[in-house]
């Protein structure tokens, strides 16, 4: 039995498993060509980027074979052991055809792959609370949701954009497919934010129905703790979002209102009814205005002029939300007139 005859049954069996690929029939050993495949890295080609195409075979030792590589019918590489080539993809709407012809003493085979670049961006933001006129991104915290949008750029070979409805979107979260939000035309999705301090890897794969065009995007989305900030609520200027109060602040006023802003909290507004504000001033609890619980007004007259404002913030149902803050505010006009021999037991009078 010749060596070719020994290889034949194995090649035929592998061909049945791998399936048919466009190939040139090999003389003498029918079907061996289908044992040769081309694999691309990265898996998803984007425009004007370098990709590497590898030749693989389960039957033929490609490192010992003479290989001729062609890109769009032009020979780009040739020789023994040349089992991969690198080339640069074209722009959107173009297609590159890469062929590899291998030849050994025992067999000849040809493999072909078509590379058509496509792109997709994965954009996201959270529905967590940010105050009006906040110009930064809303970042998710536990209990909030993440809105995502895939922005594919797919063109056919005529240069026309492929409509979203003709594209199949497959969403995955930490590798697991999200079937309910995947499907044709489903370019947007809303999913729960990761748990506290957690990070989710969200992937979206976009492809045409025949899979001739495919793209992929990935985003790592982390949940953060909401951030509690305190601002002056000035009678003339409104909430002074541009000047957050530090741990120690001096204000020129005798009476002033303050507003707490729970950035990235699971709430629709700062005065969301699901938020529970627990205010105290110099250790004494303060009843909040039920219509505006995020605000407190302090009248420092007849006091020491120094207020330690403490705030605890919790959520009715979201037990991950638990923040607190302490701000020491000195009321300068009161400090200037304070009697140094007077006791320091004078309480502040929060105005209700």
């Amino acid at each position: 039995m010749t060596s070719a005859m020994r290889v034949l049954p194995i090649a035929v069996a592998l061909c049945a498993i791998v399936g048919a690929l466009p190939a040139l029939a090999q003389q003498g050993i029918p079907g061996i060509d289908s044992s040769v495949v081309l694999r691309m890295e990265p898996k998803y080609a984007t425009p004007a980027t370098k990709v590497r195409v590898y030749l693989q075979s389960t039957v033929i030792d490609v490192s010992l074979a003479s290989t001729t590589w062609r890109v769009n019918d032009k020979v780009t590489a040739q020789g023994f052991g040349v089992n991969s080539i690198e080339f640069t993809t074209g722009s959107l709407g173009t297609q590159s055809v890469i062929t590899a012809e291998i030849e050994t003493d025992l067999a000849q085979a040809r493999a072909r792959i078509e590379v058509a670049p496509a792109e997709v961006d994965l954009l996201w933001e959270s529905d967590a609370f940010t105050p009006p006129f906040y110009r930064g991104r809303s970042i998710p915290s536990a209990g909030t949701s993440v809105r995502m949008q895939a922005m594919p750029r797919f063109k056919d070979t005529n240069g026309k954009d492929i409509p979203l409805s003709n594209l199949i979107f497959t969403w995955r979260r930490n590798g697991a497919p999200l079937l309910s939000i995947s499907g044709p035309g489903k370019s947007g999705a809303t999913i729960p934010a990761p748990y506290l301090y957690g990070t989710d890897t969200i992937e979206v794969e976009v492809a045409t129905s025949d899979y001739t065009l495919a793209a992929h995007a990935i985003a790592r989305i982390a949940s953060i703790e909401p951030r509690l900030m305190l601002y002056k609520d000035h009678p003339l200027f409104g909430t002074m979002y541009f000047e957050a109060l530090g741990a120690r602040t001096t204000v020129p006023d005798e009476e002033l209102s303050f507003v707490a802003v729970p950035y990235f909290a699971d709430a629709a507004s700062a005065n969301d009814r699901s938020l529970i504000y627990d205010w105290s001033v110099n250790g004494s609890p303060v009843a909040v205005n039920p219509m505006r619980p995020s605000m407190i007004t302090i009248d420092a007259a007849h006091s020491t002029g120094i207020a330690s404002i403490e705030l605890g913030l919790t959520h009715i149902t979201n037990f991950f939300l638990k923040k607190s803050g302490v701000w020491i505010v000195s009321f300068a006009s009161v400090l200037e007139s304070v009697d140094p021999f007077r006791g320091t037991e004078d309480p502040f009078r929060p105005v209700e």
């Binding site: 792109e119 961006d121 954009l123 996201w124 933001e125 009006p132 006129f133 906040y134 110009r135 930064g136 991104r137 809303s138 970042i139 809105r147 995502m148 949008q149 922005m151 750029r153 954009d161 370019s187 947007g188 985003a219 951030r227 900030m229 601002y231 003339l236 200027f237 409104g238 909430t239 002074m240 979002y241 541009f242 000047e243 957050a244 802003v261 950035y263 507004s269 700062a270 005065n271």
Partner: protein, 461 residues
């Protein structure tokens, strides 16, 4: 008997003297108390006329910020002289129409200065005589809602945050005049069209964002004053983001229904609405350039990838993307762009002269929103650069008012790849926010994010 009568006379005289003394003491006591009461009342503003009729600016611009006084060497010579001149000198100067007494005579300033609470006739065209402002001029110390150059000149319009009143500042003469007196309390954001149209934004009682566009109209103003009324249109509430076209009187805004957002272009009166784009996301910053290009950039956050797109016929065409903490500054009539990134406490600024060119990292550490492109042929930008990036999450902290910086101005020649620090004669820390450049490229106006005061930097000599 005579002795008794004498004693009685002495007693009577003594009683009279004591009574007179007591009355005198009481008189001086009451006088002192009255003076104290008057001073307290004056300090509280009792009896003070409405500020808007005292001077060209009025309102909280004067109340809370005091009269206009440029910093440094530009302190008004006329003002200083008037302050130094005594009452008699000024009175003599007034009676002799300036021939005697104080060296100069200003009929507008002279009379009102002598009146107890200023003059009664408001006139928006009256100017406070000052010398040329310094290179770095603090236009207004009070918090402002926004600024805008109008009329193709360095004239700067700004809206008071407290009243929504619009005032005009001329960086060439250092004068500040009132434009409108229509009250829009607690205006949080103001944008201006080149023709002077104003867009004011605030927060309603329910917490929604309100938007109003208008033009100063003198038809409703009184005959004795050219201070105008802001007449216009109230937009639907809930507009998340809005931009004014630099030359056309048009707006482009984003409204959301909770599941998706729509970009709408409309006229100044919110007519002729046209849907420009739709998106599932809401956090978009709009860059609407004078050449008509519309570029959307995702709101930035530290270490979070951002993307920017140009919108053409409703299609999102990528400009730059997948950059952490991305902020962009596109340039009109050019494909050049500045963009910045922020990740792990590292803030980096890049320049890209064309879409296909390789971005070049600039040797200054700042965000693109602190820069302005200079008009003209060259690719020159002015950037405010923090002396120190105060936190590792600078972008987030900045938006939350928790990372004030102290900036210096730099000139960036993108074509030549050079940067040069400008000498800025000011010791006050400035955290540059929302900078704008005048059409002629002579002045850069900005807000100081520390207190939202308004500043103008003269960049041409």
């Amino acid at each position: 008997m005579r002795t008794v009568i004498r004693i009685m006379k002495f007693l009577l005289a003594a009683i009279i003297v004591i009574a007179l003394g007591a009355l005198g003491g009481w008189y001086f006591f009451l006088k002192g108390e009255s003076a104290a009461t008057r001073s307290i009342d004056a300090a509280r503003g009792l009896g003070v006329n409405i500020p808007s009729v005292q001077n060209p600016t009025g309102s909280t611009y004067t109340n809370t910020g005091g009269p206009f006084t440029p910093l440094g060497s530009a302190t008004s010579a006329a003002q200083t002289q008037a302050e130094r001149a005594g009452l008699l000198l000024r009175l003599a100067n007034l009676l002799t129409l300036g021939r005697w007494g104080a060296g100069t005579f200003n009929i507008g300033a002279g009379i009102t200065e002598l009146l107890p609470f200023g003059g009664g006739g408001g006139n928006a065209t009256t100017t406070i005589p000052v010398s040329l402002p310094p290179q770095l001029w603090r236009v207004s110390p009070t918090p402002s809602a926004g600024i805008g150059f109008v009329g193709g000149t360095p004239t700067l319009y700004f809206a008071e945050r407290s009243t929504g009143n619009i005032l005009s500042a001329d960086p060439l003469t250092g004068t500040v005049t009132r434009v409108t007196n229509t009250l829009f309390p607690k205006t949080y954001e103001a944008l201006f069209a080149r023709d002077g149209g104003a867009l004011l934004r605030g927060i309603s009682e329910t917490g929604s964002i309100t938007t109003f566009t208008g033009m100063a109209s003198t038809s409703a103003a009184s005959a004795t004053s050219s201070v105008a009324t802001l007449m216009g249109t109230t937009f639907p509430t809930g507009i998340a983001s809005i931009a004014v076209h630099p030359t056309l009187r048009s707006v482009l805004y984003i409204v959301s229904d909770g599941t998706s957002s729509v970009g709408v272009r409309a006229s100044w009166g919110d007519a002729e609405r046209k849907k420009i784009f739709t998106s599932r996301l809401n956090n978009w910053k709009i860059h609407w350039l004078a050449d008509g290009r519309l570029i959307l950039a995702q709101y930035a956050a530290d270490s979070v990838a951002g993307h920017a797109y140009e919108i053409k016929n409703g299609v999102f065409i990528p400009v730059v993307g997948d950059m952490p903490g991305l902020m962009i500054l596109p340039r009109t009539q050019s494909s050049a762009m500045l963009y910045s990134t922020s990740q792990g406490g590292a803030v980096r600024l890049f320049a890209q002269v064309s879409p296909t060119a390789t971005p070049v990292e600039l040797p200054i550490r700042t965000i693109a929103e602190k820069c302005v492109w200079l008009p003209g042929a060259g690719l020159v930008a002015y950037c405010a650069v923090p002396r120190e990036i105060p936190t590792r999450t600078y972008v987030n902290d900045r938006f939350q008012g928790a990372a004030p910086t102290s900036d210096t101005w730099w000139r960036v020649d993108v074509s030549a790849g050079t940067v040069e620090q400008l000498p800025t004669p000011n010791d006050q820390p400035l955290d540059v926010f929302s900078p704008l450049v005048s059409d002629g490229g002579t002045h850069v106006a900005f807000l100081n994010a520390r207190d939202m005061s308004i500043w103008v930097l003269r960049i041409s000599e």
